[in-house]
Structure formats: structure tokens, C-alpha cells
Amino acid sequence: MVQDFFLLMRSELMLILIIFGLLFLKLGNARLKNETVMNMVNVVLIATLAMGFLVKDTGMIFGNMFHTTDLIRLEKNILTLGTLIISLQSYQWLKAHKHAMEFYLLLISTLLGMFFMLSSANLLMFYLGLELSTIPLAAMVNFDLHKKQSSEAAFKMIVSSAFSSALLLMGISWMYGIVGSVSYSAIAAAISGSPLEILAFVMILAGFGFKISAVPFHLWTADVYEGAPIPVTSYLSVISKGAILFVFITVLYSVFRSMGDTWYYMLYILSVATMLIGNLFAMRQQNMKRFLAFSSIAQVGFILLGISGQSVASSTSLIFFVLIYIFSNLAAFGVVSLVSSAYGKEKVDDYKGFYQTNPLLAWTLAIALFSLAGIPPTAGFFGKFFLILAGAAKGNWLLITIAALNMIISLYYYLRVVKAMFMDHNAAPLEKINTPLSPKIALIICIVGILITGLYSGAYEYIYSLVS
């Protein structure tokens, strides 16, 4: 039992170790340089990642509340990798920040919450994990302490997520009222798709929809993304979203499987609305962060399309897409973050002639955007292609056509940024940016990731073998 505990919860224990370590250091008034703190955390994150890959063990503990499988392990690894990249990228922003240690405290706590959420076999456990991953995030959003926008964003986030949690919790308690249990397996065995169950399900769905910012539950996204510091924005749009998506397929596929016909059409509606609204708004954004925020809403539409396929291929393509999405989006955010912290500029127009002065960064951003737009042979194309293929298995060609049309619309605005960087003339482009080592490493990881997942097919097949 004790051995199980240590083996199955090793990633969680590692994170708890970081949290307590930081806490004691903080309480003990340790005068550590920010860089030291960052390096320490990064090393432990790498260790967590390595342990996640090396030790293989599966099982259930805590009275079947907490379980681990190879797939969950992989999902946790993906999230840890993403967090590591973000941690590396926040170097420039954090190095002069007064509260770097607290930032990491909060960051790791949210990651821990996500891990619990992933491992939960029970709606209550899931809810606890969800809150643990949300509340510290709102504090992180507020981390540009002298900026009003940042505080406003944090406030908006906490209020709207309280609202969504309320609905979610109501859905969960109704489920409990109907079934008499909150464990996944008991609910799966008991539900049949009665109107009351549908109502409860819709509330739970709305809770998920809020987190992944599916239309019409997305309204908080743009404001919060814009107000938050860039590393937090990227964390919100990539890691936090990825974790929820992982849980979402588990809940849909194993808990609500018998209601599949109903939620297929719900996802259909959400998917179409999300793609359309996300794209139409992204088209006219001038602020890079806002632009990436709306484009990430549009991406969720594609993900919902893939999920609606209800097959092994759907789960695989989702996980594969999230992996690619982490690389592509973090590469884009990484460059935006460098520019922002060097010059405080975030407008698309500021990137005019960027290629003349910063060719490498321009290429990085271009590859990332191409990948987000889904242009072959970048990884993003395969991600989208698999999602569409998984959705197409249902034979709903109308939905596929809408998705394909949206790919074109999105191409337009991604290309706009590429055009600004490479083709627009600017007498005084942003000057050359000196990239410190750790953001550089982060960008290299991202680009290598985009290229490898795009050109080498092993990743997809590996995920597929785990899912089936």
C-alpha cells in the first residue's frame, strides 16, 4: 500500500515537494536570487518529467478515488513538459520580479490540481482538482502588480470561474441525486439519458466549456488573456486548457458514454459556434495576445469536432493535437513574450519588418503560426487532419466542410502576421533582441517538437497504442 502510494503518486509528490520547499524557503526569509529559484524549479520539473517516463506503474488507491494508467502518465508528462517550457520562457519577466517564489508556488499548485483532476475517478475528486488548478491561476493573472489591467483580468477570472463552478457543482449534485454516487463507474452504469440527466449533463458541460473557452462560455477569455502577464496567458491557453481537455474526453467517453448520441449534437453546435466566433474575432485583432487568445478559441472548435467522433482515433488525435498545440502555441507566445519584455510592444503592426532585424525569431514565429494554421508539413497540419479525420468517421460532411472553411479563414489572419514580419516595409523595425539562454532553450524545444511531431509519426502511434 505504502509502496503503491509512492509509486502511483510520484508526480504529485514531486510537485508537493517543490511547493513545500519553496514555502519553507520563503518563510525562512532565504535571500535567494530569482535566477536560483528558477533554476531549482526547472531542475525539479525535469526530474518529474524523467520520473514520469521512467517508472511505469498503474493502479488505484484511496478507495478508488485516485487512479493512474499509462495514458494518464503520458498526459501528465505532456503537461509537465509544457510547464517547463513556460517556466523557461518566463525568465526575462520574472528575473526582476519581487515575488518570483510566490509565482512558482502558485504555478506548481495549479499543476498539482491538474494532476489530481487527471487521476480522479470520481466527480468530487475532479472538482477538487479543478478548483485547485483555478484559484491560484487567478492570483497568477494578477502578477503584473503595477498594471491595472492585470488586476482587472484576475478579478474577472475569479468572478466568472466562480459562476461556472457553481453551475458545475449544481450539475454534479444533481447527478448525485439521480444516481446516488459520484464515482465515474457508478454514474456510467446508471444513466440512461432522461431529461433530468440531460439537464445535469448540460451544467457539467458548461463547466467544461468555460474552462476550454467554448462559445458561448468563452467571454472571459479575451479580457483575461490580454490582462494577464504573457507567461500566465500562455499557461492558461495551453496547459490549463490541455488538462481540462484530457479530463473532458475521459468524462465524455467513459462516464457519459450511453448519452453519446445526445452530446454528439451538443458538441456539434458548440464546435461550429466556437470555430466561427473564434475566427471572426481573431481576424480583426491588433494586439498579439488578444489575437492568440481568439485563435486559441477557434482551435478548441476543431478539438470539439475531433472529440465528437467518439472513437479511439478521437482520443488519440486529441492528445496528439494538444501536444502539438503546446509546442506551436508556446513557440508563438515565447516570441511575443520576448518582444514584449524587451520593448513593451504587443501590436501586430509593431512586427512589421521584424524579419530584417531578427531573422531567427521571425522564422520561429512563422513556423509556429504555420503550424497553428495547419499548413503541411508542419505538425499542426497533422494535428488538425487527425481531428478532422476522427470527426469525419461519423460521416457528417457538413461539419467537416464548415471546419475546412474555417481553416481557410484562420489562414488569413495567421498569414497577416507572417506578412507583417516578412513582407511589410518598416523604416524602423524593432531592433535585434538578445535572447537569454533559457527562453532560447524553450524556443528550441518548441521548434524541434513541431518538426519532430510533424515529420516523425512515432508519437501518434505511441499515443494510439496507449489509448487502445
Partner: protein, 643 residues
């Protein structure tokens, strides 16, 4: 013979050249980059000619039929869906080997020409890097074993042509053109992608030969299931093929997806010779030819191909008669000639002499590649000399540019279809196939042949005859590197018509004989003579006849000059309809709801806490309201309406 090694080398060399020139071109190989690129192209051109000789003369035939050779194949990715997997490989069969020769030879000529033409360009090495990338992607496209592989290279071709068209990125029109080309063809590619999905899911494979095996037999399971189920009155097979064709039509600039081609002339002229004459634009024809054994079984898809081709041929020829930009005339003429290739496939039968249309189409693709790139390179030389694209700035150039004049005239005669130049033979076969397949299309094609002769000679007379203008070129006709490709290509233009093409390339691999029917040739040749005659009368000397004629034709001339308002129609649909009815409301919501919040925050004064301000702005409540309404609506729909 080791095809795997040679053909892999064929792909890897230009890729390596792209990487090397792309990374070190600006620093180390600044001067040498042109030479490096050209040397690589020379090597692979020799390689592909060697492969072609080996394939056609030694290894390709088995019992009198050309067999495809899979030089290389490896499974690259398993989908986990219905055994679907993607292979990457190299397929050598008559049409792909022919394409290899066309691409490498034309690309080599363009490289050599560019050595002189682009000499003073600041981004000289980048240009050659892009050319290498384009050549690599185009070669990858034609040797694909798998419909998915072709799609990937297809997009790569799109990306590299985007880079090349937008090469003069300081010109706003070039940037706009490259974007337009990219987005229009991407739109078409969507159809292609959906077509691939349908084909893949229905037949359970993406492999060309397996798709063809499973679908070309009307008794097969896949064929029956695809023809029995349908959507909107057409069978699944028809839909799949039409969607695949849509991708092809986009790349090949078929009506109504042609709008990008004339604008794409903003790119450097040698690029147009490569991309818009011989390689990328014929990719659509190649795609249909590749799937021809499936296409010919579906009458509706075939007639779509035929009529889209015929419409484009006629439509583009009419527009070409009114344009004054030398490159735009050539662009429309390309579109028209590709229309010929397309409808020739569309009217063709399968196997033996019934498959004449297929052979004729490929033959025309082959001959057209040489004389059209010759025309473009000639135009490049003229533009280089005159520093203008406009025909009204030119005239009397035959004395100034004797080599260009002679080769350009030869190419004009070839494209018009004057015997015994190559264009005559291939066009003759197309007309014969159309005559046997579809009389209406035959007459359209015949009329278009006359128009072709007319606009080409209008172009020729306006550039090289008429009254001499004052030129200030600071240099002669051009360096040897610019003249040599012209000469080589004109030799090819003369020679290629005599190749017994039907022996090598046919719809089912079995060669057959073609004969020249003298009686049949009378009508087309007469049309050509009339066309040239009219052009001579109207344009050989500057006079006011063309203007009078244009006035007399009034509306029709104006409509043709404005390209039948197709661009305006697209603009109307995108700006007036999409932007007004979708974009504007979206913008309004965004401005008033999303931006409004930010603006409120920005204007908040220091003495009022922004948190209260944010609260008072009421927007978060609004968000919550939408949220709640959305959830309620979903619940309502699925509880009351769905069941």
C-alpha cells in the same frame, strides 16, 4: 538499375541546395549561390533524362505494357482507422517520369536565365534557395505513391510559390498577389482534402494503386458502396472526384478559381516561366491524369472536367485578346492551354486508341511546358530591356533583340499550332480526341485555336513590329546566360513534336500509333491562318483599326478587358456580403462588448479603484448572462426539441 538511389538523389539534391543556400547563402555563398543552384539543377536534369531513357527504353515495359515501378516505399504513419496508413515513396510510371524531365529541364533553363536576369538583385541567394525549394516540392509531388503524400507536396508547392510570387516584397501589389494566390488555392485545396478523406474512408486506403485497383473494377465492393450511396443526387464517388478535381482546378487556374493567376504575374518573370507555365499550374492536370482510371468510370465527374476545361480555354482566350500587359496575356494564354489539357482528359475514353484524349493531354502538357516557358523567358528578356510590362511601351524590338525575336516568333507559331512545330501535333491530337468525344467541345476548341493564334500574334506584332519607341536600356539584349535558355528551349519546341508520344504515354500503359489525318488538319490550320491574318492586319503597323473595332464591340470588349468582372464578383461576395452580414456584427459586438471593457479600464481615473470600476461597468455580469443563457438554451434544445 538502381532506381531507388537515383530517384532519391533527384529529390535530395534540390532539398540540400535549399538548405545550404537558405542558411549560408547570404553569408558564405553570396556570389556563388546562383552557380550552386544551377549546378544542382544541371545534375538532376541529367539524372532525370537518364532515368527517363532507362524507364522508357529498357526497364519500363512488360509484355508491351508500361508498368509502374515503385522505386521506394515505406510506411510512415498508421491511422488506426480501418487499416488506413500513409506511405511515403517514389512512383515511376510514364506520366511521372515525363513530368520529371519537364520539371528539371525547365527549371534548369530558368536557373540559367536567372543568373543574368536576377544578377543585381539584393536577395540573389534567397531567390535561388526558393527556386530549389520549389523544384524539390514539385518533384516530390509528381513521384508521390500516395494521395496524401501528393497533398503534402501540393501544399509545399503552394508555400514555395507563395514565397516566389511575393519575392519582390517591397511592391505592395506583389504581396497582395502572393496572398491572393495562396488563399485561393488553399480554398480549392480544402475541396481536395475533403475529397481525400472521402476516398480514404470509403476505400480504406490512400495508396494510388490500391485506390485504383479497388475502384476501377465496377464489381468491387468499394465501387458498389461508393456509387450506391449519395448526397444531393450525386453518388459518393462523384462527390469525391469532383472535390479532388476542385483542388486540381485551383492549382491549374481553371474557371472560376483562376483569379489568382493573372495577379501572380507580379513575381519575377523567370519564376512565372517555371511556376506558371510548366510546373505548378499543370499539377491539376497531372492529378486528374494520376486518378484517370477512376475518373473515366464516372460520367458526371468526367463531364465536369471536360466542361470546366473547355470553358476555361475559351474564356481565357477571349480575355487574352484584350490585355495589354505582356505577362497577363501569357498568363491567360496558359490558363487557356491548360483548359485544353483538362477537357482533353474529360472527353477521353480508356485504353488503347479510345484513350487518345489522355495521351493528347499529356502530350500537350509536355510540349506546352517548353514553348510556354520560352515565351515567358522571352517576355522576361523584353521586360529586362524595356523596363516595362506594358505592350504599348514596346514596338520595333526585332532590330534590338534579334535572338529574342526569333525564338519568340517560333514559340508563337508553336502555341498557335502551326505545323510542323510541337504545338501543332499535340493540339491536333486534342482536337481529334474532342471531335470523337464531344462535338460541342470540339467546336469551342477549334474557335479557341483561332483566338489563340490571334492574341499571340497581336502580342508578337505589338512587341516586335509597329513603330519603334525610344529605349534606354544601358545594356544590350542580355548576357549569354539569358540567350542560351531561349535557344535551347526553341530547339526543344521544334523537336518535341516528333516524339512518338502515344507509344510511351497512354491511359493504360499500352502504346499505340497515331496518324496525322490531313483532311482533319485543314480546319484547325485554317483557323490559325485566319487568326494570324487578322492580327497582322490589325496590329502589324500601328493604326486605329483596333480602337475602332474595340469601340464597335463596345460592351463585350469592355467586359473582356475587365476580365468579365470575375474579380469584382468575388469582391462583392466577400466585402458586401460576408463582411457586412457577418464581419460587421461580429466587429460591433467586439467593439462594444469586448473592447468597450478595455477602453473603460483605460480611461478609469486614479481616484476610483479600477476593481470597482470594472465591477460597475457591468460587463462581467453580461458575461455571466451569456454563459447562463447558453447553458439554458442547450438544455432546452436537447430536452424539449431533440427528443
Amino acid at each position: 538499375m538502381n532506381y531507388a538511389l537515383l530517384s532519391a538523389l533527384l529529390l535530395l539534391l534540390p532539398l540540400a541546395s535549399f538548405v545550404v543556400l537558405g542558411i549560408w547563402g547570404r553569408s558564405i555563398f553570396r556570389k556563388a549561390s546562383g552557380i550552386i543552384g544551377t549546378a544542382v539543377l544541371g545534375t538532376i536534369a541529367a539524372l532525370s533524362v537518364y532515368i527517363a531513357c532507362q524507364y522508357f527504353l529498357v526497364d519500363g515495359q512488360l509484355n508491351g505494357t508500361y508498368q509502374p515501378i515503385i522505386a521506394l516505399q515505406t510506411e510512415w504513419l498508421k491511422f488506426g482507422y480501418k487499416e488506413l496508413s500513409i506511405d511515403i515513396g517514389i512512383l515511376l510510371d510514364p506520366i511521372s517520369v515525363m513530368m520529371l524531365v519537364v520539371i528539371t529541364v525547365v527549371s534548369l533553363m530558368v536557373h540559367i536565365f536567372s543568373l543574368g536576369y536576377m544578377k543585381d538583385e539584393e536577395r540573389y541567394s534567397t531567390y535561388f534557395a526558393f527556386l530549389s525549394l520549389f523544384t524539390f516540392s514539385m518533384l516530390g509531388l509528381v513521384i508521390s505513391v500516395n494521395i496524401f503524400q501528393i497533398y503534402m507536396f501540393w501544399e509545399l508547392v503552394g508555400v514555395s510559390s507563395y514565397l516566389l510570387i511575393g519575392f519582390f516584397f517591397t511592391k505592395p501589389s506583389a504581396v497582395a498577389a502572393s496572398k491572393k494566390a495562396f488563399i485561393v488555392t488553399r480554398f480549392a485545396d480544402l475541396g481536395f482534402l475533403i475529397g481525400i478523406l472521402i476516398l480514404g474512408i470509403q476505400t480504406g486506403t490512400l495508396d494510388f494503386s490500391t485506390i485504383i485497383d479497388r475502384l476501377s473494377n465496377p464489381q468491387s465492393e468499394a465501387f458498389i458502396s461508393m456509387t450506391s450511396a449519395g448526397f444531393l443526387g450525386l453518388s459518393t464517388l462523384t462527390w469525391a472526384l469532383i472535390l479532388v478535381f476542385m483542388g486540381g482546378a485551383g492549382k491549374s487556374a481553371m474557371f472560376p478559381l483562376h483569379i489568382w493567376l493573372p495577379d501572380a504575374m507580379e513575381g519575377p518573370t523567370p519564376v512565372s516561366a517555371l511556376i506558371h507555365a510548366a510546373t505548378m499550374v499543370v499539377a491539376g492536370v497531372y492529378l486528374v491524369a494520376r486518378l484517370f482510371p477512376v475518373f473515366h468510370l464516372d460520367e458526371i465527374a468526367m463531364s465536369v472536367v471536360a466542361w470546366v476545361g473547355a470553358t476555361s480555354a475559351l474564356f481565357a482566350a477571349i480575355i487574352a485578346t484584350t490585355q495589354t500587359d505582356i505577362k497577363r496575356v501569357l498568363a491567360y494564354s496558359t490558363m487557356s492551354q491548360i483548359g485544353y489539357m483538362m477537357f482533353s482528359l474529360g472527353v477521353s475514353g480508356y485504353g488503347g486508341e479510345a484513350g487518345l484524349g489522355f495521351t493528347a493531354s499529356m502530350f500537350h502538357l509536355f510540349t506546352h511546358a517548353f514553348f510556354k516557358s520560352l515565351l515567358f523567358l522571352g517576355a522576361g528578356a523584353v521586360i529586362h530591356y524595356v523596363h516595362s510590362n506594358d505592350m504599348t511601351d514596346m514596338g520595333g524590338l526585332r532590330k534590338h533583340m534579334p535572338v529574342t525575336h526569333a525564338t519568340f516568333l517560333l514559340a508563337c507559331l508553336a502555341i498557335a499550332g502551326v505545323p510542323p512545330l510541337s504545338g501543332f501535333f499535340s493540339k491536333e491530337e486534342i482536337l481529334l480526341a474532342a471531335y470523337e468525344g464531344n462535338k460541342a467541345i470540339y467546336f469551342i476548341a477549334l474557335f479557341t485555336a483561332g483566338l489563340t493564334a490571334f492574341y499571340m500574334f497581336r502580342l508578337y506584332f505589338m512587341i516586335f513590329w509597329q513603330k519603334e519607341k525610344h529605349y534606354d536600356p544601358h545594356h544590350g539584349e542580355g548576357p549569354m546566360s539569358m540567350k542560351l535558355p531561349l535557344i535551347v528551349l526553341s530547339l526543344l519546341t521544334i523537336v518535341t513534336g516528333f516524339i512518338p508520344f502515344a507509344q510511351y504515354v497512354s491511359s493504360n500503359g499500352k502504346g499505340f500509333d497515331t496518324h496525322l489525318h490531313l483532311m482533319f488538319s485543314i480546319a484547325p490550320v485554317a483557323m490559325v491562318i485566319i487568326g494570324i491574318g487578322v492580327a497582322y492586319v490589325l496590329y502589324q503597323k500601328a493604326n486605329d483599326k483596333p480602337t475602332n473595332l474595340a469601340n464597335a464591340m463596345g460592351g463585350l470588349y469592355k467586359a473582356a478587358y475587365r476580365k468579365f468582372y470575375i474579380d469584382e464578383l468575388y469582391l462583392f461576395i466577400t466585402h458586401k456580403i460576408i463582411f457586412r452580414f457577418i464581419g460587421k456584427p461580429a466587429a460591433w459586438t467586439d467593439k462594444n462588448i469586448v473592447d468597450g471593457t478595455v477602453n473603460t479600464v483605460a480611461s478609469a481615473t486614479d481616484d476610483v479603484s479600477f476593481m470597482i470600476k470594472g465591477w460597475q461597468s457591468g460587463k462581467v455580469q453580461q458575461y455571466a448572462m451569456y454563459f447562463f443563457a447558453g447553458a439554458l438554451l442547450l438544455a432546452f434544445i436537447f430536452i424539449y426539441l431533440w427528443h
